[in-house]
C-alpha cells in the first residue's frame, strides 16, 4: 500500500473536516435541545397540544380528599417531608381563597369559601417567567405546554424562584433523601442545590397513565388537552365559570379553578 505525502494530507484533511462537521452537528443538536417529547413516543402514550388541569372544588369535601391527592403526588415523586417551613419542598399543596386569588379578596364571600383550602401546583404557564429567566435552560418548555425541569443541569441560582409569580418552585436547601419516608425506585430522587416542582407527570403520560393527583382525586382534578375542543377539560370549561390565578400577569396559567356550583353541574 502506497500513499504519498500529498494523498495522506488530503485524507487527513478530509477526516478532520468530517470530524469538524460531526462535532458541529452534534453541538447544534445538543444546543437545540432535543426534548423527550420529540422522540418516538410509546404507542400508548398520552399526547396533547397543550396540557391543562381543571380543579373542581366541589369534589373536595373532606380533609382526606386533599390529603389523598397530595400524598399521591409526593409519594410517587419522592418529595421529602422535611418538617419545617424554611427548607420545605412541595409540588402540590393548599391555601385559602385570599392567598390563592390574591387581589380578589372579598370579605363578604360565604364563610365556607373563605376557609376552604384550594389545591395549588405549578400552572405550566404558556409564557412562563421561570423559563424566560433560567440561565442554563434547565427549566424549559415542552411542545405540549409542560414546563420541565432538568435536575442535572440546574445550577441552583434560584432566579426561577424569584420569577415565578405563584410560589410554585421549591429548592433543595439540603439533601432531601433522609426525609423521604419510602423511596419510590421508579422516580429519581434529587440532590441538594437544585430546584424542583410539579411536572404534570410527564413520565406517566408517556406510559399512557394520567397524573397521580388526577388519579387520586376521584374527579376533583380533570386533566386533558386544552387545544382539543372535544376534550373533557374543554367540556367542563365551556359549561362552568372558571378562574385562573393571576392571569393579569400575562403568564397564561393552564390550571383552571371551578369554584362554584354543586357537583351535578360537572
Amino acid at each position: 500500500m502506497k500513499m504519498d505525502r500529498r494523498e495522506f494530507l488530503r485524507i487527513a484533511g478530509l477526516a478532520g473536516l468530517g470530524l469538524g462537521i460531526g462535532t458541529g452537528a452534534s453541538g447544534w443538536i445538543l444546543s437545540r435541545g432535543i426534548e423527550a417529547s420529540e422522540f418516538i413516543p410509546s404507542p400508548n402514550a398520552l399526547t396533547a397540544k397543550r396540557w391543562a388541569m381543571v380543579v373542581v372544588l366541589s369534589k373536595f369535601k373532606t380533609e382526606e380528599d386533599y390529603k389523598r391527592v397530595i400524598d399521591a403526588c409526593h409519594r410517587f415523586h419522592n418529595v421529602p417531608d422535611i418538617g419545617n417551613p424554611k427548607d420545605e419542598v412541595k409540588w402540590i399543596w393548599t391555601d385559602t381563597y385570599e392567598h390563592v386569588f390574591v387581589g380578589q379578596e372579598n370579605e363578604y364571600l360565604p364563610e365556607e369559601f373563605k376557609e376552604r383550602p384550594f389545591p395549588l401546583l405549578c400552572n405550566h404557564c404558556t409564557k412562563a417567567p421561570c423559563v424566560r429567566v433560567c440561565p442554563t435552560k434547565a427549566t424549559f418548555k415542552r411542545k405540549d405546554g409542560i414546563t420541565m425541569q432538568d435536575y442535572h443541569r440546574c445550577i441552583g441560582c434560584r432566579f426561577c424562584m424569584a420569577a415565578c409569580p405563584y410560589g410554585a418552585r421549591s429548592f433543595n436547601w439540603r439533601d432531601p433523601r433522609p426525609f423521604i419516608k419510602e423511596t419510590n425506585p421508579s422516580y429519581p430522587t434529587r440532590t441538594k442545590g437544585v430546584v424542583e416542582k410539579c411536572t404534570y407527570c410527564v413520565e406517566l403520560l408517556e406510559n399512557g397513565e394520567m397524573p397521580k393527583c388526577v388519579q387520586a382525586s376521584k374527579g376533583g382534578l380533570i386533566f386533558g388537552d386544552l387545544m382539543d375542543p372535544n376534550s373533557e377539560v374543554r367540556k367542563v370549561l365551556s359549561e362552568n365559570f372558571s378562574m385562573r390565578r393571576k392571569a393579569e400577569m400575562g403568564t397564561g396559567p393552564s390550571v383552571f379553578y371551578i369554584i362554584g356550583g354543586g357537583e351535578e353541574d360537572v
Binding site: C134, T136, F159, G167
Partner: protein
C-alpha cells in the same frame, strides 16, 4: 511591577495576615455549606435570595462608580483626578471580584457554573450579567495596570488603552443596568417591578462608591505617603452630594406611587420594611437607621461648610455608605420577597455561617484592594512626586 506588593512594612503585612485569616475561616465555613447545602443560611422557600445576592447587588454599584472619576478625568480633562483615578479603577476590580464570589457562594450547584457558558441563554438576564461583569473586570484590570505601568516608566500610556477607557464608561453603566434588570423584569414582584429601578441603582451607586473612595483616599493619606490632594476630594464630595440627593429623590418617587395609588401589591413591601406587616418587622429598625443616616448625610453634604470640613465630610461619607448598604445591600432584595406571592409573610435573617462567608468575601475584596493600592503607592514613591506623564 507586582514585586512591589511583596515588600512592605509591618503594618502592611499585619493587614494582609488578618485578611488572610478571615478568608481562611470563611473558606472552612464555605466547605461546610458545600457539604450541608444552602440550608445552612437563613434563606427559605419564600425568601430564596438573601445576604449573598444583596451584597452582590450593592457591590455592582461600588464597581460601577469608578466611572465617576473616569468621566471627569478622561472626557473632561479634569487633571486634578490624575492621582486618584487609578484608585477608582482598582476599587472596581476588587468590587467586581467580590460580586463574582458572592454569586458563586450563592449557587446551589457551584460545580456546574460552566453550564451558563455551555448553554448560553440570551433571554436570561443572568447570562448577560455574567457577560458584562467579566468584561468590566477585564477592562479595569487592563486599564489600571497599563496606565500604572506607564506611570512607573514615566511614559505616556500606550495608545490602545484610550479606546478601552472610553468603552469602560458605557460598560460601567451597563453592569448596573443589567443588574437592575434582574429584578425589574419579574412579574409578581411588585416591589421590584418598577421602571426606575436601574436609574435608582445608578444614583445610589454613584453616591456609595465615591463616598467609599473618599474614605479610602483619606485612610491612605493617613498611613502612607499617598496624598490625593484637597481639591480632588472636594470634587468627589460634590459628586457624592448630587448622587445622594438624586437617589433619595428617586426613592421618594417610589414612595409616592405606592402611597398615593394605594395599590396593595405596591404598598406591601414598603409597609413590611418600614412599619412591619402582620406583626413581622425584623427589618424595621434597620430601615429607619438607613433613612436617618441618609438625612444626616444629605445635610452634611449639601451645606458647603460641612462638606469642605474634612471631619464632617468623613462622617457624611460613612453615613452615605452605611445608609445605602442597608438600603441596597439588605432591604431591597429581602423586601422584594416579603410578602411572598401568596401574600404570606415569612421573614429572613442571615445565619452566622452565612455572615462569616460574606465577611470572608469582603475580606477577599479588601485584600485585593490592599495589594493593588500598595503597588500604586510603591510605584508613586519610586518615581517621586509630580503629576503623571499623561
Amino acid at each position: 511591577m507586582f514585586e512591589k506588593a511583596l515588600v512592605g512594612g509591618r503594618r502592611y503585612w499585619t493587614l494582609v495576615a488578618v485578611l488572610l485569616a478571615i478568608i481562611g475561616i470563611g473558606f472552612l465555613v464555605y466547605l461546610k455549606q458545600l457539604s450541608y447545602g444552602l440550608g445552612i443560611t437563613g434563606m427559605s422557600r419564600d425568601v430564596s435570595w438573601g445576604f449573598y445576592i444583596s451584597q452582590f447587588t450593592f457591590l455592582v454599584g461600588v464597581a460601577a462608580s469608578a466611572v465617576m472619576l473616569v468621566i471627569p478625568y478622561y472626557l473632561h480633562n479634569y487633571k486634578k483626578f490624575s492621582r486618584i483615578v487609578i484608585l477608582g479603577e482598582f476599587l472596581a476590580v476588587s468590587a467586581v471580584t467580590m460580586c463574582i464570589l458572592f454569586i458563586f457562594v450563592d449557587m446551589g450547584q457551584p460545580m456546574r457554573i460552566m453550564n451558563v457558558i455551555l448553554h448560553p441563554t440570551p433571554n436570561s438576564i443572568l447570562f448577560w450579567d455574567s457577560v458584562v461583569l467579566t468584561g468590566y473586570l477585564l477592562l479595569n484590570i487592563i486599564i489600571g495596570w497599563t496606565t500604572l505601568q506607564a506611570e512607573w516608566k514615566e511614559t505616556a500610556p500606550p495608545k490602545w488603552v484610550k479606546p478601552l477607557i472610553y468603552l469602560s464608561i458605557p460598560w460601567a453603566i451597563s453592569i448596573h443596568t443589567v443588574t437592575a434588570f434582574i429584578y425589574a423584569g419579574l412579574p409578581g414582584r411588585h416591589f421590584w417591578l418598577t421602571a426606575i429601578m436601574a436609574a435608582r441603582f445608578l444614583a445610589s451607586a454613584f453616591a456609595s462608591g465615591p463616598a467609599l473612595l473618599i474614605l479610602l483616599a483619606l485612610i491612605l493619606r493617613k498611613y502612607t505617603t499617598f496624598d490625593p490632594g484637597r481639591e480632588p476630594i472636594l470634587a468627589v464630595s460634590k459628586i457624592v452630594a448630587y448622587a445622594m440627593v438624586t437617589n433619595v429623590f428617586f426613592f421618594l418617587l417610589e414612595v409616592f406611587t405606592a402611597g398615593y395609588s394605594q395599590v396593595p401589591g405596591h404598598l406591601a413591601s414598603f409597609e413590611y420594611l418600614f412599619f412591619g406587616l402582620e406583626g413581622h418587622g425584623r427589618l424595621v429598625p434597620l430601615m429607619w437607621i438607613s433613612i436617618l443616616l441618609a438625612i444626616v448625610a444629605i445635610f452634611l453634604l449639601v451645606v458647603p461648610a460641612t462638606r469642605r470640613n474634612e471631619t464632617t465630610l468623613k462622617v457624611a461619607c460613612i453615613a452615605v455608605f452605611i445608609s445605602l448598604w442597608i438600603d441596597k445591600g439588605f432591604g431591597l432584595v429581602i423586601g422584594g420577597f416579603i410578602p411572598n406571592p401568596l401574600e404570606r409573610v415569612f421573614e429572613y435573617w442571615p445565619t452566622l455561617p452565612e455572615f462569616i462567608i460574606s465577611l470572608a468575601v469582603w475580606a477577599t475584596g479588601f485584600l485585593i484592594l490592599t495589594i493593588l493600592y500598595k503597588i500604586v503607592i510603591s510605584v508613586r514613591e519610586s518615581i517621586g512626586p509630580g503629576e503623571p506623564a499623561h
